[in-house]
Symmetry: C2
Subunit: 281 residues, 2 copies
């Protein structure tokens, strides 16, 4: 396993691989790797000649009052993880090179960046799209692997890649959960013991929603109410949003039909957690 | 010479060339090729194994009342030109593929896109940056060749390429002029005979500015006044802007020093022409 910090070196490596006809698979992360990342990495390893994992806590996707400073970092753990999984390259770009003084360019993605998480995190997806464009330009992957936990992010990156004519293919893999249903996230680390127990309410509410839809319920407000009830029975939980949207374009549904994405963001204590589930009717 | 319309085919061609270790040079144009393009194409031919020329009149860089519809097009002439110059590929992307219905992604470049031409053409440089990002993703050139006539455009594209970590290098080549000094531009075609004669006032005013600076003048407003006098002695000329700016960042200069770019946009009749000159003091 090789560790690369510089953009130049990363691009040289990718060019050499391409000349050899090797396919490059890419898993972009903010580090603090867990079993959610593991499923991406294993798929990437299986499907490509060369695997690149990037670790970069991207400052531009955090709002001014968010957790950029305290976002969990553990380089040693991440390197052990990557080595064990036979990753070829860990790419650690530097903030100085990704955002040198005087940078001016942003990648913006119209209305879908302003829905759901974009409402409470107004610059978030612009930050995501911009860093992912840069990372693709460094790594030139044939395939990039993303987690479905960040459903909106995955959709926005797919849109960007399609719109800007990148040749990279995007694969989105299912959410990995703890035994009690909590979706894996580096931010779970923030939860205190009692918050950790309460945090299972996100997935419980999603399962309840799915059951109701399968039982014939088609009204999104009824679904949201049932979910609220489950979530708000936890004293530390505060709902940011609950929505039933079209899974292809995130447009809120008036009547539940087709490929439905039920998405939510909930604060448990001070920790903002997201989760989602899809239902086809 | 091969003609390519589809993004997929263009990318496959570029990948094959890269596998063979060939360097790709790229000249992006809106067609209606003239001797300004010729200097780019010849440099590109000289410096690269493979030359790609794109022809695409990009709708998103035209304002609603601008000349997108009537912008001059001559496919046959362009193909004869490209063949004569031993271009390997003419890439004609289709509007349908570059801007399919439902596209949402834009590349925006902060304040320098709002200065000079950006003041009178507010969406122009966002359109330019976005299409150039797409074209780079299709062609993956090692070097891209741009004309200094569009000085602000060249600076903005350089900024974008640097910011988004494209590995493409940008080379900007000098303005090519008619014998009487008029900078070559596809839009010169719009000029009526008497306007064509008056249009020489742009370069005459720039030369006068350079002479004044070389003679010791350091006040930008004195320079602008001298230029205005030359330009406004032509009945069909109307000034959009005249500015003396820092050639590296387009910031207006209060005192003329360093690497100065004198830029102007002038309507001659209904035709908007731009030109510029650099002076080092």
């Amino acid at each position: 396993m090789k560790i690369i910090h510089s953009v130049n070196q990363m691009q040289r490596f990718s060019n050499e691989q391409k000349k050899k006809g090797k396919s490059i698979g890419f898993v972009p992360t903010m580090g603090y790797l867990h079993d959610g990342h593991l499923s991406l990495v294993r798929k990437c390893r299986k499907e490509n000649d060369v695997c690149v994992l990037s670790v970069f806590v991207n400052p531009t996707q955090f709002g001014p009052n968010e957790d950029f400073q305290k976002y969990p970092r553990d380089k040693k753990h991440d390197e052990v993880f990557a080595k064990r999984e036979k990753i070829d390259i860990i790419f650690y770009p530097t903030e100085k090179e990704m955002y040198p003084s005087g940078y001016l360019t942003c990648v913006t993605i119209g209305p879908i960046a302003n829905l759901l998480c974009g409402k409470s995190r107004p610059e978030h997806f612009q930050g995501v799209a911009t860093i992912v464009a840069k990372l693709i330009n460094c790594v030139s992957p044939k395939v990039m692997y993303l987690g479905q936990k960040d459903a909106q992010q995955a959709l926005i990156i797919k849109q960007m890649v399609r719109d800007l004519k990148y040749s990279t293919r995007i694969k989105t893999l299912p959410i990995i959960r703890e035994k009690d249903g909590l979706a894996l996230s580096s931010r779970n680390k923030y939860l205190k013991a009692d918050e950790r127990m309460q945090a299972t309410c996100l997935y419980r509410s999603l399962k309840e929603a799915r059951n109701l839809i399968r039982a014939g319920e088609r009204g999104p407000s009824k679904i949201a109410k049932a979910m609220q009830k489950i979530i708000l029975s936890n004293p530390s939980a505060k709902i940011d949003y609950i929505e039933c949207v079209n899974a292809n374009n995130l447009v809120p549904l008036k009547r539940l039909q087709g490929n439905i994405l039920i998405v939510l963001a909930v604060f448990v204590g001070k920790t903002r957690l997201i989760d989602n589930i899809t239902v086809n009717v």
